[in-house]
Amino acid sequence: MGRLKQALHNIKRMDRRKSLQAIILGAGAVTTGLVFNGCNIEGEKTVEENIATGAEKFFGRTPEELELIEKLNAEQLFNVHEMETIAVLNTIILPPKEPYGGPIEAEVPEFIEFIGKDFPEMQMTLLGGLMWLDHRCNTEFDMEFKSASLEQQKQILDTIAFHDVEVPLEKQPLEIQFFHMMRGLTVTGYYTSKVGIEDLGYKGNMPNVWDGVPEDVLEQHGVSYDPEWIAKCVDQSKRGIIAEWDEKGNLLT
């Protein structure tokens, strides 16, 4: 069974533990899966209070999804040497920068190890590419890639780091495909990490009140708001007042 199929198989068995917990058999009832919803709607609470603090120790996985992650974590794709080579490579691709750090702080090698197991179709390119690097380095400099000097490493990478954008990637040599994949995983691994997101400067993923693009940004990009359009938009000072309309649908509050 492929990874995707396996995952889908797991989905199908979704949340059995949860549902079993929720089963309540009434007197004489012979049905299963009967749930009395105990959802309490809280009264007035601020947005911040409503963000469940208890959610921190979960990340929304179903039991079956967690099982898949545990299974993948128990497997090993890269050996110690390969992991070290990946770490060296990651750091050349995206050198650390103060105050954020780099791929090591972003746990990029661990991410690549996991993704390689999560997407088995990547394995040949990754494993083969690492072998190619050592082979090439041994041929040129009589040593493994991770032990070579930065200058020697770059000398090798310079031959594979740029690809012809006119030719489909899958028609290019393995080492080109490998570096493309490794660079992509390094960059995505870094910018999806805590330090990488700070470095990028992304400000979202938290409660806030959207009230339009700041003036200096509008100016920078040479656009402006149409006053007629803005007049129809939400007045955020009234967002907490319950909506009421007249019979024609005109908002009164």
Binding site: D15, G184, W210, D216, G249
Partner: protein, 573 residues
């Protein structure tokens, strides 16, 4: 093994807990009926910390959000997907249909885009306009009062525009456009394409004391823990329970068939419990199907009896016929004027778009009969798996080398962050009798229930419409000073027209009509053949407009529920 039968007689069994099932639950329970909701998936509450994905960072998962186990990314709130192991579907050779199922309380409403558009007067009588397809047996004036009530009960933001076929409603005020949306507005206007604020069911303003107000995280696809977006569980089923309604929810329960008596009337349903893989029966005076257009068709076709040898309600042989989905094609462009953005502010906004383009064209002058609307996406989104995977591909637009390594990559990522704008065209296809789903006589699922076989092909109408979309997108992106990403879809690629089913607007399989020979239900969504079975998903749709189907599902489910209550009062059923 004997099938276990519950001794309780419910007033109503509702199969499925998405938009249609949720609304029927709310209306019928509020009316005092004793309701059983039967749902194939597990219980789900967006507020449950164990299930919640809202506000998760990519690094909270080792796969950083990749779509391995969930089709729309790891944080998406749909349990299910295009394929579900153990619950297959098949195709007639040479045809295609992708079927998205979400098995959980609330169904697909937990992750949907919340684009909440009313059908217009023309949409119910489109045959009168162009001779294609069929008219509905009802018109906009029949549904309008229910659209109005849905607006007020659930909440939708938008603006009064006075457009003839995009009726206004009771709107909450919309959010202001984001930066890339201002570019889109300007680009579209250059081509004479109208742009108006989106109409979506998030609460930009307080609606009642039970639900929170939108805090603009842009994550409606993850389902909102303060219930500020519409999901069937949080906005219909839980309120029905909290209102003192008699609502029992059976989860992990896969309905096999509607059971009938010697007179051919429905007596309840039989279902398989996923927990113990045993079959159970529930009894009710009325059965309401809301399992999705295709799933409800499947249940009816599998409900064969002496009285209903062709499947329940299928004397017309129309169940499964006229299956149709919205058309879809997309494109994206790189806009140099959106480069080098300041990241000084949070522009997550509401999930999805703040602006869109309703259909503007005159089909009498075009080579396809029905329209489409344009959805727009872009902005400085939260990174997830795949972000920066081609960090400087756009260098090619400047004649610069693509690839490399080192500090330059950081600059490239930041330089190009937020500079892509995408478009999705979502249009109306013509409902055709020869596009259908049926029971595959040779295949069952892991519960022993015969599965659906799909038979669906697009026609040149849809392909021509997709070509128009691609030409339009290209024009708009050029108007925005941008370049298309990747080559434009060709004729050989059907102009990027997505596979039927891909837009997840499955409708039409149990269409309504006045003539019982050519339709499955009457205009109140009651089976012609069996007066105590109703269908409140999108199966009874005669045609799917260039809109999204959910708001109409909700309005029609409410209307059908009112009819059920009325008929019960009159002791007609």
């Amino acid at each position: 093994m004997q099938i276990k039968e519950s001794s309780e007689l419910y007033d109503v069994i509702i199969v499925g807990s998405g938009a249609g099932g949720g609304m029927a639950t709310k209306q019928l329970a509020d009316a005092g009926l004793n309701v059983a909701v039967v749902e194939a998936g597990p219980f789900f509450d967006p507020r449950n910390p164990e299930q919640m994905t809202q506000f998760k960072w990519p690094y909270e998962s080792p796969r950083r959000g990749a779509a391995t186990t969930r089709a729309f990314g790891e944080w998406d709130m749909a349990y299910g997907g295009w394929e579900i192991e153990g619950e297959p579907y098949t195709h007639t050779e040479g045809t295609k249909f992708d079927w998205f199922r979400s098995h959980m309380l609330g169904g697909r409403t937990n992750h949907w885009g919340r684009i909440s558009l009313r059908f217009g007067p023309k949409d119910f009588k489109h045959k009168d306009v162009d001779g294609h397809g069929d008219n509905w047996p009802i018109g906009y004036e029949d549904v309008k009062p229910y659209y109005d009530k849905v607006d007020k009960l659930i909440g939708v933001f938008g603006t009064k525009e006075g457009l003839p076929n995009d009726p206004d409603g009771f709107f909450l005020p919309p959010p202001k456009p984001r930066l890339h949306e201002l570019f889109y507005i300007n680009g579209a206007k250059k081509s004479g394409i109208p742009v108006i604020p989106s109409r979506m069911s998030m609460l930009t303003k307080k609606l009642n004391n039970d639900r929170g107000t939108c805090f603009y995280c842009g994550q409606c696809g993850r389902s909102c823990q303060v219930y500020a977006d519409f999901s069937s569980g949080s906005c219909l089923i839980f309120p029905a329970q909290n209102n003192g309604g008699r609502v029992k929810i059976f989860v992990n329960s896969v309905v096999r068939e509607v059971t009938t008596n010697d007179e051919g009337k429905a007596t309840g349903v039989s279902y398989i419990s996923k927990d113990d893989r045993k079959e159970y029966k529930l009894k009710a005076k009325i059965v309401v199907l809301a399992a999705s257009a295709c799933s409800s068709a499947r249940i009816l076709l599998n409900s064969k009896s002496k009285q209903h040898p062709n499947g329940l309600g299928n004397s017309s042989d129309h169940i499964g016929k006229y299956l149709h989905d919205s058309t879809g094609a997309g494109s994206a462009g790189f806009v140099p004027d959106l480069m080098n953005r300041k990241t000084s502010y949070n522009e997550d906004g509401v999930g999805g778009m703040h602006v869109y383009s309703p259909w503007w064209g005159d089909n009498s002058k075009l080579d396809f009969p029905r329209g489409y609307h344009i959805e727009v996406w872009g902005g400085m989104e939260m990174p997830s798996y795949g972000f920066g995977i081609n960090p400087n591909d756009f260098n090619k637009f400047f004649g610069l080398k693509v690839g490399g390594y080192g500090d330059q990559l950081r600059d490239d990522v930041k330089k190009y962050y937020g500079s892509v704008v995408g478009f999705s065209g979502r249009g109306e296809s013509i409902a055709r009798k020869d596009n259908y789903c049926e029971i595959d006589p040779t295949t069952v699922d892991e519960f022993g229930i015969p599965v659906l076989r799909f038979n669906y092909k697009w026609s040149d109408f849809e392909r021509n419409q997709a070509k128009h979309m691609q030409d339009t997108f290209e024009e708009i992106i050029h108007n925005m000073g941008g370049e298309l990403l990747g080559p434009k879809s060709t004729k050989e690629e059907d102009y990027g027209l997505l596979v039927p089913g891909a837009i997840i607007h499955e409708v039409g399989t149990t269409r309504m009509g006045d003539d019982r020979k050519t339709s499955v239900t009457n205009k109140y969504q009651q089976l012609h053949d069996v007066d105590n079975v109703f269908i409140v998903d999108a199966g009874p749709f005669v045609s799917q407009a260039d809109k999204n189907c959910t708001w109409t599902i909700l309005a029609l489910s409410w209307r059908a529920s009112d009819y059920i209550i009325e008929q019960l009062k009159q002791q007609n059923i």
